[in-house]
Symmetry: C2
């Protein structure tokens, strides 16, 4: 299995994750933009994910929740800047448990020889916000998620 | 006149501008959110600014243009994340002359003893994007603009 790389430099409010998949970029894009697929890989392991809103268009808003077995939930919301496409997805991101702290995610899908390089580029309003995410286990959680994405992609079939 | 401060560290995709004004924060907020006021100070000196769209609400979009005397125009657009208020404004920002490069602006207004500390916190997708803005004269242009904002604030009167 390919490995997941992170760049998170000291005193820089940014995390860049890259991972290569043995799948066409249309599949990787679909796994990011079809809510029925997204919930199968995106949440941290052990949590159930549900999607409240997912209006995939320029200016559209999204909101999803992660659920613990005991009913505790963690909600997140944001909006899409620009028309989401295989050229990229730009969206804002806010954890409702820490309102007022917003990050911007840029997801890109670069295909070469049938492989797709996925990049999640997250920029934060401050280094403190970024460091809080890192201390909360962002890298482990995302590594876990993209491992599940890898397994999901192997099950997808082309759609015409 | 108060001076404008910038923090733009090497290899960090961020610029933070701060400036103190002798005005209540409602005035500074109004100058950022009333398009008729915004066009009086926000554009670089020598350019005319017009506002195409300014839907000031969570999920609303905005677009404005700067015009040279010869009719050349520079257009920008983005959207508001969260409800804009005197607690802050978060918006995405894209220069249409360089599509696909998006930054996120957080504007905050902190009032103390009748003075307002304005902060523009800009985070970019990359250091290259940030450096291009700096090389294009961002600091000089913004300093100029906020000097004009200072003059505008002195002319505003309270609204009930």
């Amino acid at each position: 299995m390919a490995s997941t790389h992170f760049v998170a430099e000291p005193r820089v409010p940014q995390v860049v994750m890259t991972r290569e998949f043995d799948a066409p970029r249309e599949f990787v894009f679909r796994a990011h933009t079809d809510p029925d697929l997204l919930v199968q890989w995106f949440a941290p392991r052990g949590l159930i994910m549900t999607v409240d809103r997912f209006d995939l268009r320029d200016g559209g808003t999204w909101r999803y929740q992660y659920w613990e077995a005991d009913g505790t939930d963690y909600a997140f919301h944001g909006l899409f800047h620009g028309e989401p496409s295989t050229n990229g997805i730009v969206q804002t991101f806010e954890f409702e448990g820490r309102p007022g702290h917003v990050s911007m995610w840029t997801v890109t899908f670069s295909e070469q020889r049938g492989m797709t390089l996925l990049t999640h580029n997250i920029v934060y309003q401050s280094v403190e916000d970024r460091d809080l995410d890192l201390r909360s286990g962002l890298e482990e959680s995302v590594s876990d998620s993209v491992d599940r994405l890898d397994q999901l992609l192997a099950r997808l079939t082309p759609v015409s």
